[in-house]
């Protein structure tokens, strides 16, 4: 059974069909890319997939379970975590706390334990600290644990967002233009991080990207979107040589 299966997914905004009859199958362990020109509907697919928008038609299954129409929080708890194109960190909180918020559903104690400072509070907080530091060190952010996240440089903010998503313990990680605004060095580092996460956490990744080098470098399979519809799909090499795709990207 595929990890993620999307069928006949459509959404309309006013008269515009932003996503039309979209389908996608991602197997466990895939590193899958989604590309397409601006406004092709890539982020909209992510928003449908994570419950930010409710689709007009279509079914989304994660591990065989129908998650269509659930709330974003429920979908996250089902095992989908994401990053955002325009970084959405908890800007006033420290880097460590950003990740600890990601750990929210994996470590629990009661409200009373928090207010009364019961032993379970201290024990769980310590476990959360350890787990969060472990994740931060994967992304080379352990030295910045106490920094207010808004003060991080841009590239590190993007990494922190991935670390926070990973903290929720997802089965599927969605990355929305993870390399946007990064310089070539940072992009290179990011590619390594993504490969590392994938190997060491056994993660399935679906990413949207404009940076062709990144896509060609790490994605094995691609879906190309244009005007809300699928233009091409398949393994990366074949897709990137498709004349339709080249036309959509480079113009007539």
């Amino acid at each position: 059974m595929a990890l993620l299966e999307i069928n006949e997914l459509s959404i309309q905004f006013g008269g515009l069909r932003a996503v039309d009859d979209f389908h996608l199958t991602v197997e466990k362990g895939d590193l899958y890319g989604m590309i397409g020109p601006n406004g092709a509907g890539k982020t909209t697919v992510f928003n449908l997939l994570t419950g930010e928008y409710k689709p007009n038609e279509g079914v989304i299954r994660l591990d065989g379970r129908d998650i269509t129409g659930l709330s974003p929080a429920e979908i996250n708890r089902a095992g989908v975590a994401r990053t955002f194109q325009n970084i959405r960190l908890f800007r006033q909180q420290s880097v460590l706390d950003n990740v600890k918020i990601g750990l929210h559903n994996r470590f629990r104690y009661s409200t009373a334990a928090a207010i009364l400072r019961l032993p379970s509070y201290f024990r769980t907080e310590r476990e959360m600290d350890e787990e969060a530091m472990k994740l931060l060190s994967v992304f080379g952010l352990e030295g910045e644990a106490d920094t207010i996240s808004a003060n991080l440089p841009y590239g590190k903010q993007r990494k922190l967002e991935i670390a926070r998503a990973m903290a929720t313990g997802p089965k599927l990680l969605l990355l929305d233009e993870p390399a946007a605004g990064m310089n070539p060095n940072e992009t290179q580092e990011l590619m390594e991080d993504i490969s590392y996460v994938r190997k060491n956490f056994d993660m399935t990744v679906l990413l949207i990207e404009h940076d062709m080098k990144l896509v060609a470098g790490i994605c094995e399979k691609l879906t190309v979107l244009n005007f809300g519809r699928i233009l091409a799909e398949g393994d990366t090499k074949t897709v990137l040589q498709d004349p339709e795709v080249i036309k959509a990207y480079l113009g007539e």
Binding site: N76, Q92, Q93, H104, M133
Partner: protein, 358 residues
């Protein structure tokens, strides 16, 4: 190397600082009172100051930490005041002062919390200014309803009405407990500065402990970025409810303290209307939005200013308003803020800039 434990100790040191500050002020004021150095005007203000400080702590939880604007918080205080005074009035003869007041405070908190929860269910689906106006509406409705609420007691038991005193059909020796627009009179004077201080301390500890925990981080994540909070699995509505309900409970405590400091408790606009809610909001914003300590300091200073300006007689409220405007501009104008940062350091302004999205 800095590690996570470093963060925690820094935050708890800060919180400890707030608690110590309160304890020192309490000890100093108590000593001054014992030495007879506090004049009667200021002495009479001590309990109200505790009430307002507790309200500031309560509202700061919603506005500064949850990031939602509420301009109906006086409504919860009103509920707490009437619920607790009602209980004290009922049991005035049958119970000792201490257990009676303790239960009255708990009842005030519980009833206010219950209403906070109830109101929160529909209200917290809204965001921003719309949420604010609905809280204002609820505050006004509560005040309005209490003004038409009559309860009396005679040998046959309790009687309720919203028609008027006559509709209760009390026996001649019956006693009015809540008399509509005349409210409750003769609530026992149980509130003291010490009780007020203890309640303030409890509220502060509850809010600080809550803030610095898994629950608090979830609440603040909603303030910082609601969409991102949902995306990492935070049940947004649940945590909005939690913050709102706890805040209402604390407001209920403040109400109980307030009610037991008055000979007659009346739900007038001046006491429980939106003006009051707005005054609490002033404390929170002036205190730096999100800073519990700042909110308390603002509540104390703003309650004392009219008293300290008493020598100005008729001009004092005018001067007060000018001080308020000037303080806001100095505090928030980008140029003056940068100047303050540069010259007076940003040490005391930890919570600054919080809740800007709310």
């Amino acid at each position: 190397m800095k590690n996570s434990r470093g963060t925690m100790t820094k935050v708890s040191r800060d919180n400890l600082g707030t608690i110590i500050m309160l304890a020192v002020v309490f000890a100093a004021v108590s000593a001054a009172r014992a030495a007879g150095l506090v004049n009667s005007h200021i002495d009479g203000l001590l309990v109200p100051i505790c009430v307002y400080a507790i309200m500031a702590v309560s509202l700061n939880l919603v506005v500064g930490i949850l990031g939602e604007l509420s301009i109906g918080h006086a409504g919860f205080m009103c509920i707490g005041a009437f619920a607790s005074a009602f209980f004290s009035k009922l049991t005035a003869e049958s119970m000792g002062a201490f257990p009676r007041f303790l239960i009255a405070i708990l009842i005030g908190g519980a009833v206010a919390g219950f209403f906070g929860f109830l109101i929160g269910i529909p209200v917290l689906r809204l965001n921003g200014d719309y949420l604010a106006i609905v809280t204002l509406a609820f505050g006004e409705i509560i005040k309005n309803l209490i003004n038409v609420f009559y309860v009396g007691r005679d040998s046959r038991g309790l009687h309720f009405s919203i028609e008027g005193q006559m509709a209760l059909g009390l026996e001649p020796d019956g006693e009015m407990i809540i008399n509509g627009a005349q409210g409750i009179t003769g609530t026992p004077f149980d509130s003291t500065f010490t009780v007020g201080f203890i309640l303030l301390m409890i509220s502060v500890i509850v809010v600080l402990n809550l803030t610095n925990s898994r629950e608090g981080r979830a609440i603040m994540s909603i303030r910082d970025n609601r969409i991102a909070a949902g995306s990492v699995g935070i049940p947004v509505t649940r945590y909005k409810m939690l913050a709102f309900t706890i805040s209402a409970v604390i407001a209920g405590f403040a109400g109980a303290l307030y009610a037991h400091n008055l000979a007659s408790l009346i739900a007038t606009p001046a006491r429980f209307g939106y003006n009051m809610s707005i005054l609490f909001l002033v404390f929170v914003v002036l205190g730096g939005i999100g800073s519990t300590r700042g909110a308390i300091i603002a509540a104390v200073v703003l309650t004392l200013i009219p008293e300290l300006l008493r020598f100005l007689s008729n001009y004092r409220m005018l001067i007060y308003s000018i001080i308020l405007i000037v303080m806001m501009i100095v505090n928030w104008n980008p140029t003056s803020r940068a100047w303050i940062r540069r010259h007076i350091t940003g040490r005391f302004r930890r919570g600054t800039g919080a809740g800007e999205e709310g």
